[in-house]
């Protein structure tokens, strides 16, 4: 038999054992203050206490590892977040959507803070790695579509400035908001979260969702 680079583990169960060990190892390293870029595969191996060959049997490289980590995180974070969005966000057409958005952002910030080290690693790596960027981008694009749809609804009902450009506004809100949240968490204390959520919500609300121009 020709030497086929060694097969990857196939049995559902055993797969999880190694991979979660790697995930927690990376989390530990990230939480200890290292940037993902600086963390070598060697350090991950040492921390997870597995061998080099085992690692490469499971992950193609460090990028795929991070992307997979992100995906596994999203299944109980992003999905959870979109669940919130579905319930709360719908109140967006109600008169005080501002409070809805504030609550939504407060939850979002809390979750973001909880997993901050991993999310920061993803955003950091997405800047130069195509695989991670694809993953990162697709997540935000989903939000963008949602925001845009809501803005268009409000435009249709004349609930905001008729000159508002829903597509561009949605981009500003989502991509700028993401960065604003990340920066807030990395520089401010948790005690500021409520104020931050309220302030960001107000900017979104009065700046786009419910924009009242001088003339109106």
């Amino acid at each position: 038999m020709p030497s086929i680079t060694r097969t990857a583990p196939d049995s559902e169960g055993n797969r999880r054992v190694v991979e979660t060990a790697v995930y927690t190892a990376v989390r530990t390293l990230l939480d200890s203050g290292a940037k993902y870029t600086e963390i070598s595969v060697q350090k991950i191996l040492a921390e997870a206490d597995i061998s080099r060959s085992t690692f490469y049997a499971h992950f193609r490289d460090k990028s795929e590892l991070l992307a997979r980590m992100g995906r596994s995180l999203n299944q109980r974070f992003f999905d959870e977040a979109t669940a919130d969005a579905a319930t709360i966000w719908d109140a967006v057409e109600s008169p005080d959507g501002l409070q809805s958005i504030t609550e939504l952002l407060a939850k979002g910030v809390a979750r973001h803070r909880e997993h901050f080290s991993v999310l920061a690693a993803i955003s950091e790596t997405a800047a130069y790695d195509a695989a991670v960027n694809d993953f990162y981008t697709s997540g935000l694009e989903a939000f963008e579509a949602r925001v845009r749809a809501d803005l268009e609804k409000r435009l249709g009902s004349a609930l905001t400035d008729s000159k508002l450009n829903a597509r561009i506004s949605a981009q500003v809100i989502v991509w700028g908001g993401e960065q604003a949240i990340a920066h807030h968490i990395s520089t401010e204390d948790e005690s500021q979260d409520a104020d931050f959520a309220a302030e960001l919500a107000a900017i979104w609300w009065y700046g786009a969702y419910n924009r009242r121009t001088e003339s109106s």
Copy 2:
């Protein structure tokens, strides 16, 4: 004489020759689509056609190179931008500051687009490199201070929602705005710049500078 690691060039003139060669080499490589992280020192040497030892006589490493490149760019970009800000921004207390901000952003976006590859490299590298991050951060913090001061002025004159938190708003505006601009440029055509500037300006204006709450 003991071998002191080889002195760095001292004469003003000759210094510039090598360094600008390196700068243009990096710019060429960035413009050709490569991410700064992926660009090895070797490639820079080849592109600039200088030797390894010469490079390290001028720059400590790739990070310092990028930070220096950024600084040299700022002397005729950031400074220029803050000059605009000084003249136009002051109109912020006038009734239609919205138009002032729109113009300011339009110029900012244009400049950002012109030097996009380098600015993207800086933001990309700042995410994991301390030296570049210091540089990147200090630039944005200057803007943040400016925005915050303006917001506080408007608060004092009761020109916006009395409940607005100037500190947090300034952070959202500057850090979120930076990301929004970067994302816009990397995904949208130049023809969209005017609409984008208007939309971002509107969000800033109605969301913070001139926020009108329901009750007022």
